[in-house]
Amino acid sequence: MRVKYVLSEVLVGLWRNVTMTIAMIITMAVSLTMLGVSGLVYNKVADMKNLYFENVEVSIFLEPEVAEEQRTALDGQLRSDPLIREVIYVDKTEAYERFKDMYQDAPDLVSAVKPEQLPESFRLRLVDPEQYRQINEQYQSVEGVDQIVDQSRVLDKIFNLFTAGQNVALVAAIAMAIAALLLVANTIQVAAYSKRREVAVMKLVGASNWFIQAPFVLEAVVAGLVGSILGLGALVGLKVFLFDGALSTLQGLFSPVSWGEIFLTFPIMAGVGALVSAVTAWVTLRFYLRV
C-alpha cells in the first residue's frame, strides 16, 4: 500500500508541474549527453593512440653525400639501441618507389624527380613511441644525419585537438548539470509547496522522514532517468547520423564507435543522472521542509 501511495504521488507530482518537469528532463538529457560524448571521446582517444602509435615511425634522413662508413656506423648504433624495436634501411631506389606511390596522382612531380635526388633514410619503430625526443637528441648531431622526422609529433597535435574537444564537452556537461541541478531544486520546492498541507499533517502525526521525502526524491530520480534515456537516444542519433552518416568518409581516420560502447555509457549516464537528482532533491528538502 505504501509503495503504491508513493508511486502515485510521484506521477501526480510530475504531472502537476509538467512544464518544469519537461525543462528538468531536457537539461538533464543534454547534460548527460555531453557527459556521454566526453566519455566516448576519452575512450576513442585512448584507442586511437594505441592504433596510431603502433605504426608510428621515426625517420632519420641522411645527408646526400653521406659516407659509407658513416652509414654503417649509424646502422650499428641504431640496431643496438634498446629504445628501438625495429630498424629499416631505405635506400634511394626504395625511397623513389615510395615517393612514386605517394604521389601517383601527380605524374608531373614524379617524372621531375630522380632517385638520386631523394635522401636515404632509416625508418625506426620505437619500443615506446612517446620517447621520440630522446632519439632526436641522441642522433641529431651524429655525422651524416640530415634531419629527424617524427610522425608522433604531428599525431600529438591531432590528439591535443581531440582532448580539447573532450574538455569542451565536459565543461558543457558540467554547465548543463548545474542548470539541471537548479531546476531540480526549484521543481522540488514547487512540488513541496503544492503539497505543504499534506506535509504539515504528515509531520504532525509523526510520519517518518523518508516517507515524507520519498515521493519528492523519486520524482527527481524519475526525471533523471528519463533524461538519461533521452541522452542515450541522442548518442544513438549522433552515431547514426553524424558518425556513420556525415563523417563516414573519415572512417579510416577515426577508430569506429561501436554500439556496445554507446550502450555501455547508458548505465553511467543513468547512474549519474539518478544520483545527482536524488541528492539535489534530498538536500533541497532538508532546507525547505526541515524534516
Binding site: 499534506e198 499533517v201 502525526v205
Partner: protein, 220 residues
Amino acid sequence: MTKTYPKASRPSLDNVSVSIEKGEFVFFIGPSGSGKSTIIKMLLHEVTPNKGKVIVNSKDVTSLRSWKRPHFRRSIGCVFQDFRLLPNRTAYENVAFALEVIGKTKAVARRVVPEVLELVGLGGKEHRYPHELSGGEQQRVAVARAFVNRPLILLADEPTGNLDPDTSIEIMRLLDRINRTGTTVVMVTHDSNIVNQMRRRVIEIESGRIVRDQARGVYG
C-alpha cells in the same frame, strides 16, 4: 519539567517548571505572547529549551535526535484553532491519512476510523468534505485524527478559537470524554467561559513566568 527558553530580547519562558500527571486535564491560560504556545512546541519537540529539560512519558526528549522525532510524535495528538484538515479529502480520508502515513494498513484504517468518527459524533458524515462540514464538525474531524492513534497526550492549541460558544462546549465535552479514557489533555485557551465551566487545573502564564497554578481553577 524545567525549561528556560531565551529568545529575542527577553525569554519566552523564564525558568518555568511544570509537572503534569498522566490522565490530567490542564488549561494553560495567559495573554498573547506569554509563552503558552512555546510550551506546546516544546512538547512537540518543535523547539528545544536552551536550559532545562522536557520530560514526556518519563523520557527526556530535550536531547531527542531529530530523526527520532517522528516516532515520538506518534504518542502525541494535536488539535489546532485552524483545524488543519486536507481540503481535498473527506472526513474519513483525513483520519485514515494520519494512520496510513505512519504505516498502518488500509485494513486497520477501515476498522479504526469509523469507530473514532462515531466517538466524536460524526457517524454518518464520513464521506463529507471539510467544506461540507460546519466549523464544529471540522474540529471534530481534527480531534478524531489526533485521537485515532490513541496517543498518551492530546495537545489542543486554542481548539475553540474559531467556534461559537455552543459549539465550543460540545468540543469541550468531546475532549473531556477523551480525557476520561486516560489520555492526558493539555489545552491552551483564551476562552474564560470554558475554563470556568470545566473547573480543571489552570496554569496561568504571564511574560514567560507561571503566575498561578490552581487545581479546579477558574479563568480569574
